[in-house]
Structure formats: C-alpha cells, structure tokens
C-alpha cells in the first residue's frame, strides 16, 4: 500500500481501533478484576464464573434470547411477503417508500414512549376497549407493558426491524430476481413452485444475514427493555447496567463482564451474518448485500 493510502485510511482506522478495541480490551480486563491501582497482577476469572453460576444471569440470558429470537422471527415472517410485494410492483409509490423508512430512523426512546401511550393499561388500545364497553377500568386491561412475556418490547422491536429486513430482501430480489423467475416461467414452473424453488433459496442467505444482524442488535439494546420490561427478571443489557451502576462496587466488574458476554454473542452473530452474506454473493452473483 502506498503512503498516501495509509495516510487516508490511518486516522479513521486508528480512532476506531483505539476507542472500540480499547473499550473491549479494558472491559475484559476490568471484568477480570483489573483496577488501575492494583495493576495487572491480580487478574481472575472469578467474576465471569460467578456470573455464569448466578441463576439471575441465567434467567436474564434466557429472557433476552427469547425476546430477540421471537421479535426477529416475527419480523422475518412479516418481511418476506412484504418484500415480495414491494419487488413485484414496477411503479414505486414515493409516499409509501418514505413512510416505510421512518422506523429505521426513530430513536428507541421515542418508540418506547409511543408503545407506552398505545399499549399500557391507560393507553390508546385500552381506551378504545373502554369506550366500547369491553372493559370497565384500566386494571381490567391485560398487561402488555412491563409484562411477563415482553409483549411491549417485542412489539417495539418488530415495528422497528420489519423495514430493515424487508429492504435487505428487496435489494436481493431486485438485483437477481427477474432473470431467474423468467427462466422458471419458461420452464413452466407454477407460482408456488417458483416461490419454493427459486425465490426462497435465493433470498434465504440474505434473509439469514439480516436476521442475525437484527438478533444481535436487539440482544444488546438497552433503552426499550429498560422502559418496557419488568423489574424481575430483566433483560441482559439492563442487568449489566444495573450491576455496573450498583452502589456495591463489587457488582461493577460483574456488570462489565456481562457487557463482554453480550459483546461476544453479538460479535459471533455478526461474523455468522457476514459469512452468510458472502455465501449469498458467491452463489447468486449479487453485487452487494
């Protein structure tokens, strides 16, 4: 590489590596009990071990996995037919396209506020049911916020992630879809056959890649479960921050260690997603994912 290229790439790369890499390395060290005062001599895996043996951690992990997998699955099931619909129409409606992208940019905090106003016991849905005489007071309304099954959290994530997955699949369908479908049609494949044997295998790797990203993202996000979740058990990122900010300073390394565990899960999902995306490129000859 030339000097020029290094000068252009270097500053950005160095900043990312120092801040991001540094943050993770320092996180791992602190999760192993490192403090500036005591130095590197007393590194221990005790915090990681005690977390992994903690039943609270186990329930948080289970709840986090449940919420992320459920919301990703629901989002994917909605996204596939939507993507097929969008890619099948030649003339794009700009208004729909614009509105469809709104969830991609809305901050999590605002989605949480909107979900509370909509789904809480005194929210819009409850009011509608109350005015219709279906329920007599807010307490008769089923618990959808701060509930056992994370209905509010899952709703918020599905609302946010459907456009992301849909647009990823649409771009695959638009880049490669037509030619293969024409071949299928020439060979007299019916509508269902074309969907099962052409469309589905074609979008599958990209769908998988998109789902893994969404899974990773929901697995590590803090705001929505913090605002819409129960107080016990809590989702993993909330658990990590709760320990980190605990007045008991011994809880702090455990909070950081939990953060590292979350990061590992997220990084593994992203690497898998990247492998799937590359596989998609190589098999279908798609320009980008």
């Amino acid at each position: 590489m030339t000097m020029n290229a290094i000068l252009m790439l270097g500053p950005a790369l160095l900043t990312i590596i120092v801040l991001f890499g540094g943050g993770l390395v320092l996180g791992i060290l602190q999760g192993m009990g490192y403090q500036f005062s005591s130095g590197l001599s007393q590194l221990t895996s005790a915090h990681f071990v005690s977390i992994l043996l903690d039943p609270d951690f186990f329930w948080s992990l289970l709840l986090s996995l449940y919420v992320s997998i459920t919301s990703t699955t629901i989002a994917a099931v909605i996204s596939v037919p939507l993507a097929l619909f969008f890619s099948s129409i030649a003339h794009r409606n700009r208004m729909v396209q614009f509105v469809f992208q709104i969830p991609l940019t809305v901050p999590h905090v605002v989605i949480a506020v909107a979900v509370i106003f909509m789904m809480s016991p005194s929210g819009m849905i409850s009011r509608a049911m109350g005015s219709l005489g279906m329920i007599s007071n807010p307490s008769a309304f089923p618990l959808w916020i701060n509930d056992t099954w994370g209905i509010g959290i899952i709703t918020a994530y599905v609302w946010k992630e459907v456009p992301f997955i849909t647009l990823m699949i649409v771009s695959v369908l638009l880049h490669t879809g037509k030619a293969y479908m024409d071949v299928g049609r020439t060979l007299k494949a019916g509508r269902v056959q074309r969907f099962l044997y052409i469309t589905l295998p074609m979008i599958f790797p990209s769908l998988g890649a998109a789902c893994l990203i969404v899974f990773a993202y929901t697995f590590g996000a803090f705001e929505i479960p913090f605002l819409l979740g129960r107080t016990h058990p809590i989702l993993l990122p909330v658990w990590a921050y709760k320990n980190y900010s605990d007045v008991d300073l011994f809880a702090r390394p455990e909070g950081i260690a939990t953060g590292i565990i979350i990061a590992v899960v997220v990084i593994v999902s992203i690497i898998l997603s990247g492998l799937l995306a590359r596989y998609a490129r190589n098999t279908a000859g798609i320009g980008r994912t």
Partner: protein, 262 residues
C-alpha cells in the same frame, strides 16, 4: 389494483398509528380514561418546553445539537478519505477491515462505554462534551466510513485524471471534481452519523456522568416523572431531525435504500 392500495394503507397506518397518541398527548390539557380524545386540549406542553420554565429542555436540545454536530463533522472528515481507499482499491486485509468497521456499529455502546469509562476518568474526559463525542465516535465514525465506502465503490476516478490532463492542479481537482462528485454521499453520511449520536442514551449517561444532559437523558427523566403531555412533546421534538434526515437523504440518494441504519 385494489389489493395494492389496501396493502399501502395497511403499511402506512401501522407505522403512523404508533405516533397518533403521542401527537394527541402533546396537545392535551386534560384527558380522562376511557375517553378516546382529550377532554380539554391545550398548548401547555409546548409552551412549557419553549417557554422560560423549560430552560432545561432548550439547553438539552442545544447540548444534543452540539454533541451530534461535532460527532457528525468529525465522522465525515475522517470517514471520507478512509471510504475512498476502501471503495477504490483492493488489498489483502480488506475483509478483516470490513469486520473491524461493521462491529462497532452493531456491538452495543453499553459494552464499550463501560470499558472506556475508567480510562476516560483517568484522562479527565468524563462529564465533558469531548468525552461524550469520543464515545459517540466509536460507532458514528465506522458508520460514516461504511456509507462513504459504498459511495466510492460507484465512483470513477478517471474524471480526476481527465481534469489533471487538462491542466488542473491537484487542489483544483479536489475542490472542483472529487468533492462535488461525492458531496451528496458525504451529506447523507453526516446526517446519519448525526442521528446515531442524537439517539444515544446510555453511553452519554455513562461517560457524561449526568452532567451532559442531552435530550434523550431528559426524556428518560420525563417518562419516569409521569408528565405525559411534556414527554410527548419532547418526543416529537426529538424525532424531528430523524424525519428531516430522511427527507434529505431520499432526495439525495434517489432510489438507493437506507439499509443499515438502526
């Protein structure tokens, strides 16, 4: 086709409907259960936000703006040259580099912020705008690099050679050819880096130590305080830049999609 318009309506409604209660609450004076609309409408929340009592909120707005603007400008300044190299040249380490750039965008800022906190305390960077900008750069900069990489993948450097062969100086080429050709991309990268920083809650809280009170931090406090009209109005103020960014980028990028932004 009727089915198409039915589907369009369903899509638009399911996205827009979520905000209807937020808009109504922001103009509410009194709203009893189970009424579907407020008993008394009013501008109390809006007057509060922008009135003399709401200095905390206007200062939060200013702090958010400052942090996000500095983060976005730095992201674009550092990200554009990096994106150019990644977009135009092929080299061996590129696969690894793409991973290094995508990871910070998706790995939760929580993990990184907790790790950096102690170090930032030592360097005296906590409770300061600089520290918060640095923690936001962790994911805004890679995002900008990623966008500019895409922009430069469709860039034809031969225009620069042509200008050079016609006698333009390198500086002229930079100002008259290179920059205008990727300017729209830079605007979009900047807008979304701005948005990513603008939406941050937890990393700002950890590194800012409660001293840097950006809008999301105030919004969290408002949600817990139970003043629904004010929380609703602040929420609406809070999503305005997101909608503006979307309008601009859909104009600039035309048909290209905005996938990747969370």
């Amino acid at each position: 086709m009727r089915l198409r318009y039915l589907l369009y309506t369903v899509i638009i409604c399911s996205i827009v409907a979520l905000f209807i209660p937020v808009v109504i609450w922001s103009f509410t004076y009194q709203w009893f259960y189970p009424d579907l609309l407020p008993e008394q409408w009013g501008y109390r929340a809006w007057e509060y936000i922008f009135g003399p009592a709401g200095t905390q909120i206007t200062s939060g707005l200013a702090q958010s703006m400052i942090v996000a603007a500095i983060t976005a400008i730095l992201s674009v300044c550092l990200g554009t040259p990096a994106g150019r190299i990644l977009g135009l040249y092929d080299f061996r380490l590129k696969n690894i580099l793409s991973l290094v750039i995508i990871l910070p965008v998706i790995v939760p800022p929580l993990c990184v912020a907790m790790g950096l906190h102690l170090w930032f305390i030592r360097l005296g960077l906590t409770e300061s705008i600089v520290g918060v900008v640095l923690i936001h750069l962790t994911f805004c900069l890679p995002y900008a690099v990623f966008v500019m990489w895409g922009v430069f993948a469709n860039y034809n450097p031969e225009y620069e050679d042509q200008a050079r062969s016609l006698g333009a100086t390198p500086f002229q080429v930079f100002v008259r050819i290179s920059t205008p050709m990727v300017f729209n991309g830079m605007v979009v990268a900047g807008l979304f880096a701005f948005l990513l920083s603008w939406s941050q809650y937890l990393s700002t809280l950890i590194i800012g130590g409660g001293q840097i009170t950006t809008l999301p931090i105030l919004l969290f406090a408002l949600i817990n305080s139970g003043d629904r009209p004010v929380a609703a109005a602040v929420s609406l103020v809070f999503i305005t830049p997101a909608l503006l960014a979307l309008v601009f980028s859909s104009r600039y990028l035309g048909k290209q999609h905005l996938t990747g932004i969370q």
